[in-house]
Point group: C2
Chain length 445, copies 2
Amino acid sequence: MNIWQGIIIGALFAPSVWAATTPASMDQDLAYQLVESLTVEVGPRIAGSEADRRAVQWALNKFTQLGYDKVWTEEFDMPGWTRGQASLEVVSPFAQPFVLTSLGGSVGTPKAGIRASVVMFDSIEALEKADAAAVKGKIVFINKPMTKDKSGSFYGQVVAARSRGAVEAAKLGAVAIVIRSVGTSNNRFAHTGTMKYDETIAKIPAVAISVPDAQNLAKMLERSSRVELKLQMENQLEKATSHNVIAEITGTEKPEEIVLISGHLDSWDQGTGALDDGAGVALVMATGALIKQKIKPKRTIRVVLYGNEEGGLLGARAYAAKHHKDLDKHVLAAESDFGAGRIWQIESRFGDKALPFAKELQQKLAHLDIALGGNSTYGGPDVSVLAQAGVPVVALSQDGTDYFDYHHTPNDTLDKIDPDSLKQNLQAWLIMTETVANSSVNLRH
Amino acid sequence: MNIWQGIIIGALFAPSVWAATTPASMDQDLAYQLVESLTVEVGPRIAGSEADRRAVQWALNKFTQLGYDKVWTEEFDMPGWTRGQASLEVVSPFAQPFVLTSLGGSVGTPKAGIRASVVMFDSIEALEKADAAAVKGKIVFINKPMTKDKSGSFYGQVVAARSRGAVEAAKLGAVAIVIRSVGTSNNRFAHTGTMKYDETIAKIPAVAISVPDAQNLAKMLERSSRVELKLQMENQLEKATSHNVIAEITGTEKPEEIVLISGHLDSWDQGTGALDDGAGVALVMATGALIKQKIKPKRTIRVVLYGNEEGGLLGARAYAAKHHKDLDKHVLAAESDFGAGRIWQIESRFGDKALPFAKELQQKLAHLDIALGGNSTYGGPDVSVLAQAGVPVVALSQDGTDYFDYHHTPNDTLDKIDPDSLKQNLQAWLIMTETVANSSVNLRH
């Protein structure tokens, strides 16, 4: 019998130490305690801000208190974007204010604001097909709704309006862009998130309005072909730095082999970053700490709290650049960054010969109602950078049905986390991480 | 057989014209069309504002278009309160901003703001029992949650902190008051509403924070006995006027006898006033118009859209003062001001001899799943002024389970109205209003 069969049989007959021995103890609450601490004691922590620096200090302190063997930070440079005041109102014919948020990275307006009439499109694809004559001098409004599902699979389709809408609108001569929030709730919150410019195209201000406001604006446009808006916005961009915060439980047999588990420490500034990504930060911090309390793992468990995920995976890129010579020693990388819903699936990106190990992991997680998914996951936003560099990844897929109700809005607060779901997440992270860290499996292609 | 028995038997065997003959027609959608028009074309309309004046013009135009026989306004003087910028942040030890709203009528702060530490109370009753030494120089925080129910019966208990918290806190030397939002949702919205001062007590600024922020602040106070807040707020108070907008379908047999149905035209400024009280405005406007299309009522149907309900029933008081000599000709008064949930009960405040008529009304509404309630209703906020003056009232009680999730927050928008529930409301209003307007019943004590 080969090693894989042995492991699989072992898995079937020897339930994980976590499943078998962890009672309803303090341990199970550790992730909740950590995310509560982060959201209450630090709160929102946009990358490069003073709050971000406090979050880094919070993480260093917690890692130390939790008994990690090594704790350090890795600094990186980044563009530091600061949100200023913003307002958007209908000037005529139906004067009223809208609830908006600046998109991350957007330029502001002239101090007097921008006043122009609106032209609406159902999608960025429709905008791209438009005549410049219909767009020039106007405020483009993209009114694309987003559908809910467990895996958030509609996000990618809708978020394009946010990411590159300003560039496409500016190509056609628009003076600003307003998008319907990329989210699934009809709460009157506007959904922020990062957007991009093209250095060769005029940079126009970009904002999102809440879903009820988008519906309202669409109804105005049914009544009048000339709806005038006024946008005022003050944002700042300057050089800044942020940090990845890293901590390790040193492996006893193969300390140079790294099992990397991660989340991102920065958050958008509208909520308190509970779901995105306080929960992920808390889960991976708790995972390393609790494993150390119970066993001495053979491989090193490295917990990485990335900085500036929200601005475009800047911490993840800095990590990959700094550690590019050691990436072949990264046995596995994984990330929690999709809220705090129950984990329902494990996906992998392993070499073909390692596929039985994915099945083994799933069997150890089966009592948590976790099924086996495919072998083509990107692993999560930050970890995708490592996956692209050839590091094997797993994704413990969370139920994200409600994630885009809260994500990137003021509503991303601690009360949206279900403590029981977070416990189930923690169990899965403990089992997965321990299993890999205590094995000698090679997961590469 | 007396007249009541005849009416009751008639009711049992002759279903209302509305129930029997109204198909799924435009008529049924009229209330939705009206509330859509008001929220899209006017939007928020705080009493005394320019938007309030546009709302008055909107109502005059709509009443005229709908074929009412008489349409007019009645002006009244009022204090005009304008919300300015406001911010509330934790200064130490856990610096972060809170989501807040000024309470209606609150004074602002000095330009530099007010910075002080927080003292928390579970309720206004606990505050009232406190020692001045514990409160003097501090910001009082009242952290009382509100429970949901169909009839909103917990509102009265919780709203006292909003109405008179500033006075009670100032008596003990507090420099400001922050209340947990009077609402039942954990969405991160702060709930506004009117508050009162006592001219003999110092006027201190009063704000509400959202439920997640209140929970966050309570958790900070578990961790630190000295949590410092900074409040900055600019509000204005000046003399203003508003209007009641009134329209009539003139009675054919007893035009001097008035069946008054009503809502209030003003709204708070955070949402678009869809549930509070666009729905009520739309329902009563549609009711008179649709009755006129089908029958010639014997009594006059008077539709009153009160101004400035939110500031303290000012339009209702002005109406009662102006019409005090005619109140004995008011056969009945009723109001819709509790959102747009399905009507589940009819309550009355009739003379004892008229109680069979309450039962008759209920029997005509039974096919809409409307039960008979008691005979001690106050009729609704504005109509309570008439009830106190001896005018008989009925209340078509709406299911308000979710009402305080939205009420007085930015989330009071059109999408929160269920069109089917609004249709059921309209049917009930049509049946009730027609029945009273076409009868000669005396409902008085």
